[in-house]
Amino acid sequence: MADLQDQLNAPTEAGELDRPASFAAHPAPPSPAPPSTPSTVPSATDSESAAARDLLALHPVADGYCGLPGTLRTLPYYDLELGESSVEADLPRLRAGGTGALLWAVDVSADRPVTSALEQIDLVNHVVARYPEGLRLARSASETADARAHGRIAVLIGPAPGAAVGDSLGTLRALHGLGLRALTLSGTSWAPETGLTPFGEEVVREMNRLGMLVDLTGASEATATRALAVSKAPTMLTRSGARALNGHPDNLSDELLAALGASKGLCLVPCSAARTGPALRDVADHIDHVHRVAGPESVGLSGMYDTGDAHPEGLTSVTDYPALVAELLDRGWSEADLALLTWGNVQRVLRGAEFTARATRYRRGPATTA
């Protein structure tokens, strides 16, 4: 029995499967660059590229928005382990790019958001179960770190659009029970342009009580400001750049970025041509800007791979994260700030939500369903 279990779960074997040596749990000697090394990034020298890979080996990317569940729903057959040309974030590429954790976005249909959210969560569970050497479902910061310690990529479920809760706190709790860990407020009747309705505020408080991350992507200035005030846990934006650099409606004004930084929230800058710009250096500009305005503890990464969005040149797949890190190294980023950007800040926000939940549950029971 013990032998069987060892064979199934031995981390060492997973390490063998995790081909690139530079992503072993312990820093390996600098490895030769994998074939996908971007030669198209002029500012990154070979030594910077190696430094970027070493850094990612220690502090992998926690990617705040991956659209894989929505893409996989449409595919009759796929193999994420061998490599799947129909998707942008299969396992070989995730490993090569230094991804350590992913938020898998829940894609819902407008006519049956609750049912389709359950279907997406079901799909995530089965996909993760199919690739036990590559993926591991995580419901908390600790499980995320644990997955990484076992050489697996942690998969967190979320964000889901707010419509998925069907205007029901009982449904919100059920989705949390099924593993959902982030919810986007915008697009609902209770998070309109003008702010949060009383029920919307109750949703935020209940998310705090449960430990579900509040995603303010797409929220109006008024709604985001109100949510920042109501939420006792750090909030985040899973796919927003800086409005000062790009006028996309989901991008954040400097005022909101500053307020987000003051509340220790998190802005995950997307690798999206529409939101951040056509080239890798545009994404780096947004990261620099958010870093400057919101602070080093409030900036992170969001690939937006498999969402159908066009990606900037030089960041066309998850294998290009090392090039982005190399660019930031070139711009003088410290290793400490880069570690926060790739991994640390997402861990902190997850832990913050869990801490708030534990503190809140002590004094507050489940809110009655309205």
Partner: protein, 398 residues
């Protein structure tokens, strides 16, 4: 004081060891309707006999050791609304179990039921009542399973797209192709197929497909009282081969012929005043009372239910019967079985009729626990060879 204990004492003694597994209790829906899930307002640790059939003291007095709490939602809720309401009902049960942890223990397996009995808590399981709760989505069925639901009644009072109800016109003629796939997927998950409320054609179709034991969470015998909610003998006869269990219900309007007739008239009275015939609002109940004054309601007793159990035992066998009271899901209850404290009166009646201690133990505890355990074993077996199904209604039923 000496000699042979009377039958009620014997009943209590047996129940102390082999408590009742009840197949169906609608407390969650009553809490939703009465107080919008404000469980502070219906604290079941206190006496709730003014409002509910169910509270903890009466469950204890009734010798209840396991309860399938129904996460029923009305059939006028469809699509996402039915799913969301079902999730709210599940959430309600979870809240009750968390709040009354000294008396209730969440159970999702036969082993969990035994563990609850061993530590003197009431095993709390969940059953969904009607396929409308899954919105034609097998992934949603799996989500309900993941949230602890361990049976699903295939229909409630109305037909759904893939299964016929006992109290509706013939639709697909039992189960459609998708309906059969639902049954197979329930087998794969380990969720019991509940055939209460469904048409006899659906019962037979489900028994044809299911490789796991089925249950009737709250249905009695049609030979004893001819009501479509009851089970025909030819279906009861199939239970030994299937391994399932039929849990007799107490609802007077299903078990007593005079009550069947009276209810038909009373329902017509409610409908003529613009109410749904299942409405239990104060206004509807007032109308009901007025009707009752004019025409006395026939009263069922523990003996009425025992008649059903005697017949079901004869046809299906002692290993294939159980109890499903439907408390808090019905306006009226039999005399002596007025609320969840009444089970000992039923057992006493059976003891008087010559049921042995072992017979009663099978009826109250063993059969229901065995069925859940067998469904788990079938699921493990199927999961070794078959992955989850994502078939859709459109694919299978065109």
């Amino acid at each position: 004081m000496s000699g042979v204990p009377d039958s009620l004492e014997q009943a209590r003694a047996i129940l102390a060891e082999f408590p009742v597994v009840d197949g169906h209790n609608d407390l969650p829906w009553a809490l939703r309707e009465q107080v919008t899930y404000d469980i502070d307002a219906r604290d079941i640790a206190a006496d709730q006999s003014a409002h509910l059939h169910t509270d903890l003291a009466r469950l204890r007095a009734g010798g209840v050791g396991a309860q399938f709490w129904s996460v029923y939602v009305r059939t006028d809720l469809t699509g996402d609304a039915a799913v969301s309401a079902t999730l709210e009902q599940i959430d309600c049960v979870d809240q009750l179990v968390a709040r009354y942890a000294g008396d209730l223990r969440a159970a999702t397996t036969a082993a969990g039921m035994e563990a609850a009995r061993a530590e003197g808590r009431i095993a709390s399981l969940k059953g969904a009542e009607g396929g409308h709760s899954i919105n034609n989505s097998l992934a949603t069925l799996r989500a309900l399973y993941a949230l602890g639901v361990r049976y699903m009644t295939l229909t409630h009072n109305d037909n759904i797209a893939w299964a016929d109800s006992a109290t509706d016109e013939p639709g697909v003629g039992g189960l459609s192709a998708f309906g059969r796939e639902v049954v197979r997927e329930m087998n794969r998950e380990g969720m019991l197929v509940d055939l209460s409320h469904v048409a006899a054609t659906t019962m037979r179709a489900a028994l044809d497909v299911s490789t796991a034991p089925v249950i009737f969470s709250h249905s009695s015998s049609r030979a004893v009282c001819d009501h479509p909610r009851n089970i025909p003998d030819d279906v009861l006869e199939r239970l030994p081969a299937n391994g399932g269990v039929a849990m007799a219900t107490f609802v007077p309007k299903f078990v007593l012929q005079a009550a069947v007739d009276w209810t038909a008239a009373a329902d017509e009275n409610l409908r003529s005043h613009g109410f749904h015939h299942l409405d239990t609002s104060p206004e509807a109940m007032k109308l009901h009372r007025a009707f009752e004054e004019a025409r006395p309601r026939p009263v069922a007793t523990a003996s009425t239910v025992a008649d059903h159990l005697d017949h079901m035992r004869e046809v299906a066998g002692i290993d294939h019967i159980g109890i499903g009271g439907d408390y808090d899901g019905t306006a009226f209850t039999p005399d002596g079985l007025d609320d969840v404290s009444g089970y000992p009166n039923l057992i006493a009646e059976l003891v008087d009729r010559g049921w042995s201690r072992d017979d009663v133990a099978k009826l109250t505890w063993h059969n229901a626990v065995r069925v859940l355990g067998d469904a788990e074993a079938v699921a493990r077996d199927i999961q070794g060879s078959r992955g989850p199904s994502n078939a859709t209604l459109a694919q299978l039923d065109g």
